[in-house]
Structures are given as C-alpha cells and as structure tokens.
C-alpha cells in the first residue's frame, strides 16, 4: 500500500503539466514531466515508469501514433488526455493501445482515481494469472469493456451503468470466486479519500443486481455472504 507509482506526464502545456504533477505528488506519486514525445525514449532508458499520462494534442509527433509506438515496445499502462470526447475518438485511442481515456477539462481526482484503477488492474493481472489485464472481460455471456466503460448483456444490448456501478463491477470481475468485504470493496473502488462509505456499497450492489441478475431478489451472480461481504460467482475470461 505504500507503493509509490512513478508516473510520466507528457503534456505540452507547461502549466497543465506542472499542475498535474503537483497534484499527483501530493497524492503519493513520483512524477516526471515531459513536454512532448522526443525525449521519451531516453527517459525510458533511465527510468522505469509505472504509468504514462499522455496528451494526444502534442506538437511534433501526434500523440496517438506516439501511443501506438509505446505500446509496441512495452506493456506500460497509458492514460490519454484529450479535448475530444466523442465515442469514435475514445475507440481510436483505445485501439491505439491506451488503457483509459479522459477528456479535458477533467477533475484531477478523477485522473487519480483512473490511475489507481489502471494500476490495480495491472497488478491484479500480474498476481492472479487467470485474469490478464485485457480491455474486455466477459462472464456468462456479458461483456465488460473497460476502455469504453460499457456493459453489454448476452444479446449485445448495452446496459447503462453509473461511474460508481461500473467501478464496482470491474472490481468484482477482477476477483471472481473470492469473498470481498464491504471494506475491501470501498478501498478497491474509489478509496476512502473520495468519501465513499460502506453503506453506499450495499446500494450499488442492489442497483447492479437489478440490472444484471435474472431475478434481482434471488441473485445468482452477486451473492451476499453472511459474514458481511459479497461474492461474484461467474467465471471471468479476458478477450
């Protein structure tokens, strides 16, 4: 838990770069800043980065092709920042190899939460060999697209989820077959810093059940465990 991730922030606007760096440092991260893609290779030789925050609108080499280049060489997680927020732009970014996508203007807290989620995904994938950090997970015919943040039922129909519900579902999918206490779920989703409470986990679970269970009153996928926790029963595979 005292893991201090080393984040590389590639953003050409100096002030935005400095502000992001400052915020992340205030939240237990080591940060290196770069104004564009030129020095990334040499930086990566001398540093081991846990995650790269990459602005797409860069002078010189286009951020998307830079992302693709980085992805070819390594598995380092990449979160892209951009002013364009349409679905087609998100899809392109994710196809280029990004792990997540934020539109400007964004809340720095949201950025931090996404960084933590992606890092957690990577670590979970490394520790639990069964779940690779793939973008798309599936269980019982349902598909969870972690990049586009979409849930689709077995028929392919998209089921809307709030941000918090999606986070919770992601966490459940990453640890199937394990009993998770409310505490753990709160920690794993937004963290206490965001102000989440145990009770809200119950509300989120009940909303999720209403959306994905065949019979929400007799849940089969998200089971309540008497000692005060929940268990995600389906087997999960990555695509």
């Amino acid at each position: 838990m005292t893991f201090q991730p080393h984040i590389l922030v590639v953003e050409d606007d100096r002030e935005i770069n400095a502000l992001i760096a400052r915020y992340l440092r205030d939240n237990d991260c080591r940060v290196t800043s770069a104004p564009d893609g030129r020095d990334i290779e040499s930086l990566r030789e001398t540093n081991r980065f846990d995650l790269i925050v990459l602005d797409i609108m860069l002078p010189g080499e286009d951020g998307l092709s830079l992302c693709r280049r980085l992805r070819e060489r390594s598995h380092v997680p990449i979160i892209i920042l951009t002013a364009k927020g349409q679905e087609v732009d998100r899809v392109i970014g994710l196809e280029m190899g990004a792990d997540d996508y934020l539109t400007k203007p964004f809340s720095p807290r949201e950025l931090l939460a996404r960084i933590r989620a992606v890092l957690r995904r990577m670590r979970a994938g490394a520790m639990i060999a069964a779940i690779p950090p793939e973008r798309i997970l599936s269980f019982d015919g349902w598909t969870v697209d972690r990049g586009l943040r979409e849930l689709r039922c077995p028929k392919g129909v998209r089921i809307a989820l709030t941000g918090a519900e999606f986070e919770l579902l992601q966490v459940l999918c990453e640890r199937p077959g394990r009993v998770l206490s409310r505490d753990q779920l709160v920690d794993l989703t937004q963290g206490r810093a965001a102000g989440a409470y145990e009770r809200s986990v119950d509300i989120l679970i009940s909303r999720l059940r209403r959306k994905i269970e065949r019979d929400p009153h007799h849940p089969e996928m998200i089971k309540t465990v008497r000692s005060g926790g929940y268990l995600f029963t389906p087997s999960v595979s990555g695509k």
Binding site: I16, L19, Y23, P105, K155, G156, V157, R158, T162
Partner: protein, 435 residues
Amino acid sequence: MIRPLRAFLPDRIGVQIALLIVASLVVIHLVIGAFLFWNRNELQRRPPPGPAGEVASAIRLLTAVPKADRPLLMQQLRNAFPRVDLADGTELAAETIQRDRRADFLRRDLGPQFQVAVHGSGASDGQNNRMTIRLPDGDILTAGLALESPPPFLGPVIATLMFIFVSISLLALWAARALAAPLRRFVNAAEAFSPDVSQAPVPEQGPFEIRAAAKALNRLTHRIKGLIEDRTRLLAAMGHDLRTPITRMRLRSEFIEDHGLRGQMLRDLDQMRRMIDAALTHLRERRSREAKTGLDIAVLLQTVCEEFRDLGGDVRYEGPAHLAVSGWPDDLQRAFSNLIDNALRYAGRATVRLSSIPQGVRIDVEDNGPGIPHADKPRMLEPFTRGDDARGMNDTTGFGLGLSIANSVARAHDGGLLLLDADPAGLLVRIELPA
C-alpha cells in the same frame, strides 16, 4: 376580369394542358360546324357518293335517248353500273318507305317530272329495297339499292372523340414525364435537404429548362452545405480551444486553500464546461454519426434517475425493468438528463414514464411546475431559448439548449418530441422512438 377567372383555372400542369387541347378542339369544331352550317345548301346539292348518283346519271341518259334505243342503252348501263341492278319496271309501286335519303336526293336532282318510290322489306339497313322511277314519258325503271357500305368509323363525332381521348392521353403522359416529374423531384429534393445528410443530387436530365434548374438547385445545395460546414467547424474549434484554459483553471482550483472560494471556482468552471459541451453537442447533432447499437432504454432511464436522486433530486421512474431499443446511448442519456434537469429546475419534482407503443417506445418526462404556455411551445424547441427570458445566469445552470438537444436527438433516432400539458398542471415532454 382576369383575376377572378384565375380562381377557376386548374392548378396542375397536366390538367392545364388537357384543358388547352379540349378548348382547341372545341373551337375547331365550332369553326368547322359554322362553315358547314353556312354552306349546307351547297353541300346538300352534291351527290352522295355511290349508287344514288349512278341511278341519277342512268336516268338522265335514258331520258335523253328515244324510246326505241332504250333497251340497248339499258344493257350498257347495266354493265356500267353493276351496283344498282337496273331493270325495267312495269308499274310504279306503292311506296312503303318514306324517308330515304337517296330517293330524296333523286327527287331533288331530277325534278318533279320524275316520280320516285322506294319499297321493300323496310329493313333499316337498306337491303332488299328497290327504287321505282317513272320517267316523264311513262317508262318505268327500277333500281336496287344495295346496302351502303358503312363509313369506316361509326361517324365523325365518334372519330373526333377518339382523337381527343388519344391525344389528351398522350399529351398528359408527356406532361407528366417531361414536366411534372422533374418538378416533383425538385420539390422532394428541396424538402429533403438537410445539411448533415448527404443525398443524391437532382438528376440533370430532361428539357433544357429543367436541366438548367436542376444544375442550379444542385449548386445551391452544395453552397449551403459548405457554408454550414464552415460555420460549424469554426464554432467547434472555438469550443475545443476553450477547453485548455478551462483545464488550467480547473487544475489550479484544486489547490485553493479557501474552501468557499474553491467551491465557487469549481462551480463556475463546471458551468463553463457544460456550456461548451452543450454547444458542441448541438453542433455535432447536425452531422452524420456512427452506427446505432442495441441498448436497454429502461435501465438507461433508471440510471439517469438514480444519478439525479443521488444528488438529492425528487425523480421517480415508472416502467418496465428492461426494454431494448436501437439507438445512440450517449445521446439518449444526455437528452434525458437535460429533460430531467429542466424538470427539477423549474418544478422540483419529475416523473419519468416508459411504455411500449405499437410503433416503438414512449418516454414521458413530467413535472408539476409552471408548464409552458401553448403559444410559446414551438419557440421553446429553438436553441438558446428559455422560459424566463432572463439573460442572467447567476444561479441558474440552464442555457436553453436542453429541449432543443432532446428534440434533435429524438429526430436523429427517427422519432419525435412533443410538448404537452401535464394534468393538472406542469409540463409533459413526450419522446417517442421507433424500436
């Protein structure tokens, strides 16, 4: 005099052309009829072609020859005029048929010294009738009247009617194809014009004037699309560029120690962000988009309602737990968020109802607020129009785009939006979408 007449003239090209034909034919017939009428005496004097004329000629010849030579002449006349079957007669038979044109003609032509009688079976077709003519010096001649071969058509009147019918049909067909059809294509193209839908240009075919008009319409469409695209690109670029300074301010605000001040900065920045999002969405709504996808509209509505409830709004959902439709989920979510936001701001309580209808689905967003007066309803769908015309945006977060965006989203889905009055008071926004 001309103006009131206009009211009686037909509207359509095809009918106008048809009337023109009929009028010309009527005039022609009147002229011909007048000519015939004035010259009827002359005309009646001419012999009808055929047997009557031959009989008249035969009788004149016989009369001119002395009685002794008549039998020989008779032989020759029989050979010359085989049709009329000349023969000697013995007595003037009683006339059994009064009105025979040819007998009348002979009486007129030969004069009163000759007596003419027609007798026969009385069949109206003229067969088996024989004509008996008594020459002034007493000799009697008979002639058979063969059936006059009927005129090729049933009469000139019917021939004219056929001609009118055929020519009107042909001309109407031509008018329809060469004139009315291209004009209808223009109308359809102009009506269907929309800057974000690419449609086939109007075909530049047909008569010269039609081609010229088609070319002009196509060029105009092209120009308009170009203008709109330029304007949209400019506004979109402005919107995007504003995001960078707003991002900077947003990040800076995170470090403001004074909580009150920070809260105010964040609220204003959020308002600016939403304003840009709304304007860019409005601009984007007009352009072609990605493919539709299947989505659960019931879950989407419930999710939006829950999000507002989490912020303390009084929103309730009534409807099925699940219902699948086809569409663009993000746009639908934005549209309904806008409508519920409006409802909460102007009324304080909102009810969202989802139901299936034969053509698809119906979503009603109802509030118990002041509603919108009937006369103002059309105006409210225009962008940047709000119920209270107050321009101040101090504590309000609406920019007047909510209804307009919801309307564009509904239309983009081939559905529609209606503004109705809630019972007993308030506004009911009804959106219907095809399944």
